[in-house]
């Protein structure tokens, strides 16, 4: 197992270098001048200001040298300086990632609880009304555009019903809890701050559910399909013939083998949730990495775009590794092979 993890980590390092190269090339291929994006229409006409900007961010160097310098810095853990925030990209990521992680984790928890439950119910009641209803709902979950769902949810739950706030992570002007993990919800819990905990909970519900909608639909459909496949096996019929209670059959003999593809989907979904929060974060003004990535892309902020790409790549590598390890826990045959 240790050598397996070691091999995957080494492969991950090469993957990250490859992604940094692709991100660098793609960002430089985009027509447009980072200096124009950063300086604006007026200052861009001043050669002195433009020269100072280019020198400051190394844009006056040949491309190959820019990339070599970037890689050298990357090895030392330095992701460069953002042209937008003028702060180290590493510091920016450390600041924005917890909010995105908090949102994505909340969304994945909601997705698993709702998606698994609906999938199991749909499989058990196959081809009956409940199954049909769940299939329609799951199809809606994967089909409805996120931006539409976000705006519709805001109108209903914020404007019409007044139940939930639609902007930010906390009430305006409210002090954040003492920074422990960077995640407001968890830090509020850890510090026992009831007021911020309540506010944070109210603020995360809507974006998390909207973000989870697609994943709920996906997990529901995978769970149903996977459960139905296992339910058709001979050993399930044998278990039932032995007179085992239906609950035991379902949760011990059906769900466990059915979990393997579901774990794959969940792992991939978590990765895509982390990188796919751009729309949700922008609509709900969530102070996370999605907004940072969006603004950086618009501004051709090369170090920030590269930094976010690399961080997302690392997260994908880690998630895939965890998924592989979980496979072997759930199904020892995979480890043996």
């Amino acid at each position: 197992m240790v050598s397996f993890i070691g091999r995957r980590l080494v492969a991950g390092i090469f993957l990250v270098i490859g992604i940094s190269f692709v991100a660098f090339i793609l960002t430089n291929l985009v027509p447009g001048d980072p200096a124009a994006a950063a300086l604006g229409q007026r200052a861009i006409e001043d050669p002195g200001t433009v020269a100072a900007f280019r020198a400051k961010y190394g844009l006056d160097q040949p491309l190959w040298r820019q990339y070599a310098i970037y890689l050298g810095n990357l090895v030392r853990g330095d992701l460069g300086i953002s042209q937008q925030t003028r702060r180290p990209v590493g510091a920016d990521v450390a600041k924005f990632l917890p909010a995105t992680a908090e949102l994505a984790l909340a969304a994945i928890v909601i997705s698993l609880v709702v998606g698994l439950s609906l999938g199991i119910v749909a499989a058990v009641f196959r081809d009956r009304f409940l199954d049909q209803l769940i299939r329609v709902l799951s199809l809606g979950g994967v089909s409805v555009p996120t931006f539409w769902l976000a705006l519709a949810a805001s109108v209903v739950f914020s404007v019409k019903l007044g139940w939930l706030p639609s902007t930010g992570q906390l009430d305006p002007g409210m002090d954040r809890p003492t920074d422990i993990t960077g995640m407001v919800l968890i830090d509020s819990l850890l510090t026992g701050n009831g007021e911020t905990l309540t506010s944070a909970l109210k603020h995360i519900i809507m974006p998390a559910v909207v973000l989870a909608a697609y994943t709920i639909g996906m997990i529901t459909r995978f769970t149903r399909a996977s459960m139905l496949e296992v339910l058709g096996n001979d050993y399930i019929r044998a278990a039932r013939a032995k007179g085992l209670p239906e609950r035991t059959v379902l949760f011990r003999h059906v769900l466990r083998p059915a979990l393997v593809p579901i774990i794959t989907v969940t792992g991939l979904a978590l990765g895509s949730l982390l990188s796919g929060t751009v729309l949700v974060e922008n609509i709900f003004s969530w102070p996370g990495m999605g907004q940072y990535a969006y603004k950086s892309s618009l501004a051709l902020d090369l170090p920030a775009v590269m930094g976010v790409s690399i961080v997302i790549a690392v997260i994908y590598v880690v998630i895939n590794l965890v998924v592989d390890i979980l496979y072997s826990v759930i199904d020892p045959r995979i480890r043996q092979s």
Binding site: V30, P31, G32, D33, P34, A36, A37, A38, L39, G40, Q41, R42, A43, I44, E45, D46, G48, T49, A52, F53, A55, K56, Q84, T85, R86, R87, F96, L151, S154, V155, S158, V159, G162, P165, S166, T167, G168, D171, P172, G173, M174, E195, S199, N282, I283, F284, S285, P287, Q291, Y292, K295, L298, A299, L300
Partner: protein, 524 residues
């Protein structure tokens, strides 16, 4: 002239003060919090690096300037840190006397040395607003006197000095944080992060926290020395998607929204929420490239006229919504020198077709390029380009749309390679001279339109005269004549979209200022 008619006091009527208390936002019952929603265009809280619309709101709240404007009135510069000033007979030297009451938030007095340091730092740090200091030299003969000398007669000097980017820093604190005004400040000044973490000014508010992508929090400056004391103990300026801003004001989550379109507020009919629309600072314009190597048709004067008279300006106004207006010239109606509405170009399809025939146009496609990712005051460039394409098709011009991200199109524009460019312009400083950029040889006219110096002596004579004229009435007349000539050339002003404010009816003191949009210190 049309100035008073076009600026608009947005002081809202009546309402209880409690509606502007954000009770859920603070554990301190005595605190009063103002929440403002905006789509952020913000890069720094350091005045020397700030020149974006949201940044101007921030800097105006944190830093005082030598002089300023009251409310929305850009016709008259009023004292701020300088209690009075004189202008030399040749119009090149301004001598300011500092207000002895002016104090930084730490209680130390604002001196002339602070002014010299701050303004020189802006010039030398080579940030976005550095151009405001072009041609200006600042000295301090004594602790209470500041002398600003301009290399040429420049009627815009006072207006430039009112810009929040020329806000005055507490030089002792700034130097301790790594600020320098030396000639090599572009590479040696290291104070920006400190200024993003906390303000060092003498404005009505102090910076509590800054997040360039999400939220800026302000605390009241309890010892603010100015005459209009700030009302709110806290102000929260949030980056909120335009689609959500209306919801937030309507539900009381915020008290002011700055980025709504006229369509979004047309169902607002008073009560606890009020909306106001005024012409914004921006002028949408179109230009035809004057270089025949770029396109043989766009450089043809008859073809220019065909476009000018082929555009249906009323349809563009319909797109921009209530509160927008046709731009009679490039200078916005809020500034002295703007043309009256009677000078606005009117669509004349017959004239357009006749001009097109005279040009010999063969029907080959001409490209209109524009920033497809940009929407200003609810007006999408893509929608506007599409409508212009339809307008021009009616007169027989075959337009091909070339939308691209603003960074891409800006590159094309800077290289003077756009066949037809669709853009907007907001004043860099509140003076008509800023619009000389559109004439032959100007920043836009010369470099982007390829309208070379010497190509149009009549308009160039007016440009030179405008710079030399000091008498205000005559200046206005010259700038109007300049625009009438401009309206015959390759630069075509289109519309001024509407700036819409949606606010809680209890919010008072709201005015639209072209330079900083909203003065948080005036809101109560």
């Amino acid at each position: 002239m049309g100035l008073l008619a076009t600026t608009m006091a947005l002081a809202a009527c009546g309402g209880s003060d409690s509606s502007s208390d954000t009770s859920s936002s603070s554990s301190n019952s005595a605190s009063k919090t103002l929440v403002v929603d905006a789509v952020f265009s913000l890069k720094s809280a350091d005045p020397a690096h700030n020149y974006e619309p949201t940044g101007q709101i921030v800097a105006r709240a944190l830093y005082s300037t030598l002089v300023t404007f009251a409310g929305d009135d850009l016709t008259k510069v009023v004292p701020d840190l300088a209690s009075s000033w004189t202008t030399s007979d040749d119009g090149k030297t301004y001598t300011f006397t500092m207000n002895p009451a002016a104090k930084f938030t730490d209680g130390t007095p604002v001196t002339s040395a602070d002014v010299v340091f701050s303004l020189n730092r802006v010039a030398n740090v080579k940030g976005n607003p550095s151009f405001l200091m072009d041609g200006l030299t600042v000295t301090a003969p004594d602790a209470t006197t500041v002398v600003v000398e301009s290399a040429t007669v420049d009627s815009a000097v006072l207006g430039k000095l009112a810009n929040p980017s020329l806000g005055i820093l507490n030089s002792a604190k700034a130097k301790a944080a790594g600020a320098t005004d030396a000639a090599d400040a572009a590479t040696t000044d290291t104070a920006e992060q400190a200024l993003n973490a906390g303000s060092m000014g003498s404005g009505p508010y102090t910076l509590k926290s800054l997040d360039l992508t999400t939220e800026v929090d302000f605390d009241i400056n309890p010892d603010y020395w100015g005459t209009t004391k700030p009302t709110y103990t806290k102000v929260v300026l949030r980056n909120v998607d335009a689609a959500q801003q209306k919801n937030n004001v309507v539900t009381g989550q915020s008290q002011l929204a700055l980025d709504l379109s006229p369509d979004q507020v047309k169902d607002i009919s008073g009560g606890e929420v009020v909306s106001n629309s005024v012409a914004s600072q921006y002028t949408f314009y179109l230009f035809t490239n004057a270089n025949p190597e770029i396109n043989q048709w766009t450089s043809n004067r008859d073809f220019e006229d065909a476009i000018r008279y082929g555009i249906d300006y009323a349809s563009l106004l319909e797109l921009a919504g209530e509160g927008s207006r046709q731009a009679a010239g490039m200078i916005p109606v809020q500034l002295a020198g703007a043309l009256p509405d009677s000078d606005a170009i009117k669509r004349d399809v017959d004239k357009a077709k006749a001009s097109l025939a005279a040009s010999g146009y063969d029907g080959s496609p001409v490209q209109v390029s524009y920033p497809s990712d940009l929407t200003q005051n609810g007006v999408s460039f893509t929608d506007m380009a599409t409508r212009i394409q339809a307008n021009l098709k009616e007169v027989g011009i075959n337009v091909e749309l070339q939308g691209a991200p603003i960074t891409t199109v800006l590159d094309l524009a800077r290289g003077g390679k756009q066949q037809i460019g669709l853009w907007l312009w907001g004043p860099d400083f509140p003076d008509a001279s800023n619009y000389l950029a559109f004439g032959p040889g100007g920043v836009v006219g010369g470099k982007r339109v390829n309208w070379q110096p010497g190509s149009d002596p009549a308009i160039e004579a007016l440009m030179a005269k405008a710079l030399e004229t000091t008498d205000e009435a005559e200046r206005i007349s010259v700038y109007q004549d300049y625009q009438r000539e401009l309206n015959k050339g390759p630069v075509m002003s289109l519309i001024q979209p509407a700036q819409v404010f949606l606010s809680a009816s209890s919010l008072k003191g709201l005015t639209y200022n072209l330079v900083w949009t909203v003065n948080l210190g005036e809101l109560s």
